[in-house]
Symmetry: D2
Subunit: 387 residues, 4 copies
């Protein structure tokens, strides 16, 4: 039995089976993948890693286990659920997806399958673990679903390390209030504020942290660099590396990726020249814009077209297009009312609508090009849509 | 210069002028008036007093003073703003209001006028202090308004001492984001989540703490006792006393007040037999029900009528009718959009609607009468409306 | 199963047996006995009660129970261990001891015996519970001994509510490191810093909180009042009351007790005029001085003799004589070295010596008499020793 | 004016002059130098960097500035005081010292001189800043002396991120209590517990964190690797790099450094086979042993000699020799007693002695060689002394 100290939960206890999982190179690699990528540029204290987050989710899984008959595969799934995150994943994942056709869940599942030996030796069922990680089954939703322990941990942890209070929720309270009716997860009417607190916390962490204006700029600079590099890189290998590997690739690069990277390192970032919000587009257009995320090369072409039109060099105009707000929580049931939470809680339905408030296309360039960008709003929009 | 240690803010600094105000019997009395009355029955750790809350609000006022040109009367007003709270004020104030025609703000203002000497000796303007406490003027709204330092302190403080995380906000962050345009207080669009956090925090503290089911029962038991006693008491004197005085009055009483009080002390509370929610009434009816709060003797008559009809003794049926949700925050402006916050934030408009969710009439009795109460729903409703 | 929220430990879980114990008038009375008496005069936020402390110690007992085979009587003993504390016990206990011949442990044991019914009904052994409370037996020392859960809780709790960081220790860490060899409690050499942290924390809380200069003055004012009243009071009854009762007695009193009490309420305290430290006395003399605590009437006579000599009225000179530093921790064994901790840890032996630094006789009077007191150092010392 | 959020102090405010300093590549590099090197192997949450620590020390310097007339060069010195730390400095600094003849303070001073432009442009005096960093002058001791803000910040910060409570002190309280008499820094007798808290906190953090057994093993593995590499590396360049650079060097290496590094990454560490404590040596011998730190190549030779004697390969036996405990705090004066703190506080003199308790030579090898090492205690000691 091993006790690992955690800043949030005191001691996390792991028995020998989980220590075996923890002491694999696959898991130790998570020490070198940060939770929030470039966020420390804004919040210098947010240097925490996927390693400690994974231990935290494991701890919450143990609390769930005390309450529901989840089985021990659930604990293994909680511990290993983030194995597949790539370096700087917020900025890299959409490019990875296009390059190798896998998102971090796919990679996680693949990696877990490759660890069959250590899992089976310790009595775990690889197939069940993978299903749980994909959010399948009654207990899968506790790990990846409407109100899951992954989110509970990252909200509290990201709040703790950024110093932003908005994510301060009580995982204990949430776990205590969750109920099952058959396979349906829910809460009672008198407890909905506990669930609201989780959803609202995430909603505030969006503008304050996850979609912070400055972090988005750094992400775009990294993404563009990675797009430049992707043709010459083994992206499968990139996905297996850690952040030291990624840094090395950028430092060894030349031209645009190298230049963008140096700017990130020295906090000499591009500035926002233009913001195209939801109101600037029809809803069909928004769909079209978001689809650009599926094709990084075409994404780059548009960046280049805009630069060209403005008389700038390639790489002097960068875009940031967030993904579509995915808000799945509305499926949670208020059991004693037999209605979806969204139908009952005005706060929750308010959040669902407000998620789009944080969605906007950012257009970035060097400080001195800011005004030039701002002046060409319509043309830039045109190029993004039809470029 | 005196430094007083506070659990939330570290050291609170007071210069000689404020120490003079603090060392009056009127202010020292606040040591013996708890912030949350009977709440420790539910949350045993919530024993904090109006004294420390007042110091906390003073501290936040000093922070505001650094940012806005509020003048020093603002600081005095912050320190003294709660002078008029009566013992167990959540349960007693509506009865006081009927008996002596003053609420806690009226009493505060009266008391401050009686302290003219010490205020003027220290260079404060009594009239201005009173106006600020009434929320008047440009800076009055920072003390008693949409987004005020009173609320900021009590949310954080009540969270800290109950252990409920929902009220955890960052007063510093809120203060940093507030702006004036002329006399209009507001925030910029990009900062609305900071204000939302304050409003939502209050909204969750409602069911979790301020309107907690069990606290409401204890409040009703105390209120009924006080109604019984009010004819024989000098209520003006009661309002000047502290909680030791109030306890003494109840311990010295006989009959129903004495019996109810003993039950409160021994946590042998009545139970909820029935809950009549907003949906049970038309909106005209709700208005009528709430108006009962204005006439405690009539309120008691209805309790007695219900008891009589059910074959119970006087005092065996108690009601709890919360006041009308007063949600004034919607006036806050989003300055760069020139719109009210309520029009822009779906979360805020969601809260405004959801405030009514916590409003219900509770009908309480001894444990063994619970079912009897529950069976007579329609008749009880009838009596509340027309009894 | 009941969950009670605690600010320090999150949720404290009690099963039906302990709820039965908690819902006795004897235990509910602890809601109205504060942990730190007059300390809020200095630290306004320190208003916590013996009730929550008792729940906290119960929680730590449950943690101990997971590690050692303590049995369930240990849990009951933890919950009930403070039942016998009298109102304002730091200031009143020495007078109670003289008046009724019992200290708080004696009263606790007596009271538990009177609760035989509820204890036996829930399967507890009254005799064993009482022995554990007296610190007897292998597990008794975990409750009242060198390194006990009572102290762990009060150090952390008193730190939390005063805002003083010195008592911040990790009860979890301490519990994890404790070991038994047979019936001997100890730690291993590599863990002594964990135990040191507990002892040093207490050592700092002494000057910062428990023996704070100003609190000692308020204590002396209360003590003198109680000595005046003791002849006319049923002290047995006083010991059964709560702090509302004690306040009432003082408010109803006249003459000196009434006057001293009003001064306490309005923070209009006596001031220290003189401090006689250990160096002012031989060690035989110190013993003699401390013995005065055993005879409150003689103690008062000396106060009066001093006043008389200085031409002051009775009650204008008050003394404060702390008890002898009792430092029992030195018995703890460092198991793998087979030596007492005190022999191994220089920090611990340093504390043992430094305990005496905080011991001094305070001589108090009205502000304007301060200098008069100061000038008569030798004569006052003389009277204390031989008066 | 910029506000940077810090987990410990809320917002840290920097005006334009300090932002200019912060936005240099020299300072931004500190984002990529961790505070505690390999400590996350033991405490996974301790991933904080020298960047945030530097901001924290700057914040405390601003607090000092409010109290003492330190001038603004003091603030610049606080911000820049750690510029010269090399990657994994706890494990690398002694080797750097030997290779390039500079410790981290020397490098800091050198680097600051190279930043003359930005410093002078913002009105700072390079010479004064460097003197302050070397702890010279009246105010230099507040930055690098007996009771300095560097230590205050790192104790609290390292506690926060490891989750170990021992370092929890109140920097505010310490700062408030510090006094100068002429150029002599001290405290009053009644405040010594505040200073004791700082010294004791450091004393406990030693075994719990800074000299944690497992971290020491990882340090030794890294050190040996670096010794192997030093002949082929430009160590000056190494000192200018960040931890990404250091990782790269090790990953690109072959043979022993590569093998040791892989073990560190996969938490497949050597184990302690033997511990030679102070009691195993005469005090002359201890001096001799510690001197080995000055000559890394000779240090390696001894490791190799031991390995050879035990029939093991080069690199299979590693040593860890901590530096001499440097305890300078004892110079602090108790001003109103006109004595050194050490003469007055038994706790402080206890610490001074106990510092040596944590000093021991660790002898490490692969798990399966542990017993072999243990059996050869005398021979290994012999070789360390005379090898």
């Amino acid at each position: 039995m091993k006790y690992i100290r955690d800043t949030l939960y005191g001691f996390i206890k792991l028995d020998g089976r989980f220590i075996d999982l923890m002491d694999t190179p696959e898991f130790q690699r998570l020490r070198r993948v940060t939770q929030l990528g470039f966020t420390p540029i804004v919040y210098p204290t947010a240097t925490h890693t996927r390693f400690e987050h994974s231990l935290g989710v494991f701890h919450l899984a143990c609390e769930m286990r005390k309450k529901f008959d989840t089985g021990d595969d659930f604990l293994a799934a909680a511990l290993l659920h983030d194995l597949g995150h790539v370096p700087f994943s917020h900025a890299a994942e959409w490019i990875m997806k296009s390059a190798i056709g896998k998102n971090h869940v796919d990679i996680t599942v693949e990696r877990i399958k490759s660890m069959e030996g250590v899992l089976e030796r310790n009595g775990f069922d690889v197939k069940k673990v993978c299903e749980l990680i994909r959010g399948k089954g009654k207990y899968g939703q506790l790990l990846s679903g409407d109100i899951d322990i992954d989110r509970m941990d990252y909200l509290v942890r990201d709040s703790y390390y950024t110093g932003v209070a908005y994510g301060v929720i009580n995982p204990d309270s949430v776990i205590r209030r969750l109920r099952f009716r058959g396979n349906v997860l829910g809460v009672n009417l008198s407890d909905i504020h506990v669930v609201e607190s989780l959803l609202v916390a995430r909603s505030w962490m969006m503008p304050a942290v996850y979609l912070h204006k400055t972090t988005r700029i750094a992400n775009s600079m990294f993404s563009r660099g990675l797009i430049e590099l992707m043709e010459h890189l083994d992206m499968e290998e990139f996905s297996e590396g850690d952040e030291h590997d990624a840094v090395r690739i950028f430092r060894d690069s030349c031209g645009l990726p190298s230049e963008l990277w140096k700017r990130i390192e020295n906090r000499n970032l591009y500035k926002e020249g233009l913001r195209l919000t939801r109101k600037d587009f029809s809803s069909r257009e928004i769909g079209k814009v978001i689809k650009l995320r599926a094709d990084p090369l075409r994404f780059r072409d548009i960046e280049n077209r805009i630069a060209e039109e403005l008389g700038l060099n390639e790489g002097e105009v960068l875009l940031n297009i967030p993904e579509k707000p995915v808000f799945m929580e509305s499926n949670l049931m208020v059991l004693d009312e037999n209605k979806k939470l969204e139908k009952i809680s005005k706060i929750v339905s308010g959040i669902v609508e407000s998620e789009w408030n944080y969605w906007y296309v950012g257009v970035y360039s060097r400080k001195e090009r800011r005004k030039l960008i701002g002046r060409n709003r319509e043309r830039i929009k045109e190029l993004i849509l039809h470029g």
